[in-house]
Amino acid sequence: MTKYIVRRLLQIIPTFIGATLLAFLIIQLTPGDFTDRFALDPNADAAQLERLKQNFGLDQPVVIQYFRWVLGILTQGYLGESFTYRSPVADIIVPLIWNSLSLVVISLVLTYLLAIPIGIYQAARQYSNGDKVLSFFSVMGLAIPNFFFILLLIVGVLSFQAGLRQVAQGDAWYKPILNFFTYDLRNGLIFPVGGMRTTEVYDNLNLWQQLVDRAWHLVLPTIVVTTSGLSSLVRVVRSQMLEFLKADFVRTARAKGLGERIVTYKHVLRNAVGPVISGLGTILPELVTGAGLVEFVYRWPGITPGFVIAIQQQDLYVVMGLLVMSALLLMIGNLLSDLLLALVDPRIRYT
């Protein structure tokens, strides 16, 4: 196992070099020099420009610039300076990454928690009505664009608004029940329709209320991101399970008189779970991308809105930093899924 881990860790190095090189190349090809924006800006901070020039050796050949940039990331976590915010890139992108990560990780966990039982159910009752209905939903989920789905949810919540608002003003007997379930009775909303927290009141809330507020804001985007990952993962689980349900060793297990539960979970699932775990490598980037557009609609201060703003303002170091950091996160995700796979499947660690 140790040998496998070491080998797998070493594989990260070429990928990291490749990803940083790609990010660097893209930025190098972007029209205009790094310092152009400073030269044009009358309020430019001369000290910051000097700092950039020194740290990155902007007057030196491109190859040296690349190495200094990568070394800066590896040794000090220094990603450059933002032109727009006049501060180090790391200060700007770290909160963005945390915000996105909270959404993506929660959705990822939910995706796996839901996909495996649903997939097992569908495979165990292939072609039953339940299977058909669920398959139908996963096909729909694959076809609906994330940004459209969140828009629909928001419109749905808002159309409830009018009715709820009337109740909030009156004194209906069910008002306490609504009060309990409604996030914001003042506006008559069941769920918030944007942002990460209720900015106006957030600071006055106690810790528990702050947590609830945050969780309440997470609901709609999590639904959208989770369903998008779910639709593809359920299909993987289902087809994997179906493949192994036909296997000879399953027939043997049944012939020995084992119960259906043990056959399904101990014999079939254990063998079928491999591609589901390695599916993390494809699900994770999908979720990050999918969450991106949701963040944009929902005004969630995550990576993608920051990225779009950085591109519109040609804030090149922010773009480069976000590219590298997101690549790094995916590499960690892939690493975790490979290690998990090796843990579950001995055939992998001994080859």
């Binding site: 490749g18 076809a143 664009p145 557009l293 944009f296 591109i311």
Partner: protein, 398 residues
């Protein structure tokens, strides 16, 4: 020499109809037809493509023709009500619409549209309207058309009404532009970008995958490492960063090709990897040996002998790549980095709809229609892809 006089034996005519062997194409087509959803999807998409091609004719107004702040103000006008019953005689008549006027509603601070029932405006079929260049000719860039002097304009539309009345089947957007028409014009962009980008990434993926599998060694290593690196950066961010290489305010026709290029360049990895796997086994086949033995060059062996063997994979992955690209393109336009106003694309239409503020979405649900079209197009392509995969797979015969 005498011609042989032995009579040619007459073929034995049996009463049963001779069983003719089916060609592979016939089998595949037969299998595909059994996939009912796939066939329906093919018809739906076919209809969408025809409507997109003849959008100028089908839509009553031009792509960027707006009724905003002028004599006729139709900002966020709801879908026109089409009347069939004559108000005086109460009998069925030729369909007509009324002119509408807008008043500010002081409670909601929005414009309410009310009908002016004094004069009916009958819907005219094959009416005269905004001039346009008809379909096959408008594919030629306008500069070439002007240079050669061939720039015919016609103003025939499928339907329309006399001004000042307007007909908006699916309402109007903020600038008073016909949503129905703009969905058809947007289909041109959204439905073709997917096809072009899928073609490009298929070409790159097939060639690089074949080269990688055929030669092996360091070429293989290099190509596979590039594939890995591309898979490491989330495609949306790669797309956005590459979009930054090109001016953000470029003309829509330029942006179209830029987007095709970028999309094609980021999604070939999976194709290349799968093709490489197939080529690894194909290159050991006898027919490849034979071709090499006859002295064929490597390029001939790869492109004439090996790649045709991956044809069914290529067809299926093409039809499954297209919906992904449609989604990505609409996402990019939605973020404001794709096709830009006054041209239209489904993603852009949703983005523009969203700008009006979420709160007002509920009063203008027709602005959400482009989203349903994205959904339908992607769904249809997915079904066709599934149908093709089953039809081409001998194991899945029904």
């Amino acid at each position: 020499m005498q011609p042989s006089t032995t009579p040619i034996p007459e073929p034995v005519v049996t009463t049963e109809k001779a069983v003719r062997a089916q060609s592979r194409g016939e089998i595949v087509r037969g299998q595909f037809r059994k996939h009912r959803l796939a066939v329906t999807s093919l018809w739906v998409l076919g209809l969408l493509y025809v409507l997109a091609a003849f959008a100028d004719f089908v839509a009553p107004y031009g792509e960027s023709e707006s009724f905003f702040r002028g004599e006729i103000d139709r900002s966020y006008a709801p879908p026109s009500r089409i009347h069939w019953v004559d108000p005086t005689t109460k009998s069925l008549t030729f369909p007509f619409v009324y002119n509408v006027s807008s008043q500010m509603n002081l409670d909601t601070l929005e414009f309410d549209f009310s009908e002016d029932t004094s004069k009916p405006y009958p819907i005219k079929f094959f009416s005269q309207g905004t001039p346009y260049t008809p379909f096959p000719i408008n594919l030629i860039p306008i500069e070439w058309r002007n240079a050669s002097g061939i720039n015919p304009q016609i103003n025939l539309h499928l339907f329309g009404v006399d001004k000042p009345a307007t007909i908006f089947l699916w309402g109007a957007d903020k600038l008073g532009r016909d949503v129905f028409g703009r969905i058809l014009f947007g289909a041109r962009v959204t439905l073709t970008i997917g096809i072009f980008a899928a073609t490009l990434s298929l070409i790159i993926g097939l060639s690089l995958g074949a080269i990688s599998g055929f030669y092996g060694g360091w070429v293989d290593d290099l190509i596979m490492r590039i594939v890995e690196v591309l898979a490491t950066i989330p495609s949306l961010f790669l797309l956005l960063a590459m979009r930054a290489l090109f001016p953000l305010d470029a003309k829509s026709s330029v942006v179209f090709f830029v987007v095709v290029l970028i999309l094609g360049l980021i999604r070939w990895g999976a194709v290349a990897r799968a093709v490489r796997g197939q080529v690894l086994s194909l290159r050991e086949e006898d027919f490849v040996m034979a071709a090499k033995g006859l002295g064929a060059r490597d390029s001939r062996v790869i492109f004439r002998h090996i790649l045709p063997g991956t044809a069914s994979f290529a067809i299926v992955s093409f039809s499954l790549l297209v919906p992904g690209f449609i989604l990505t393109e609409s996402g990019l336009s939605f973020l404001g980095l794709g096709i830009s106003d006054p041209n239209s694309s489904w993603g852009l239409m949703l983005a523009v709809a969203q700008e009006g503020g979420m709160q007002t979405f509920t009063s203008r649900p027709w602005m959400l229609l482009p989203g349903f079209f994205i959904f339908i197009a992607v769904l249809a392509f997915n079904f066709i892809g599934d149908g093709l995969r089953d039809a081409l797979d001998p194991k899945a015969r029904r």
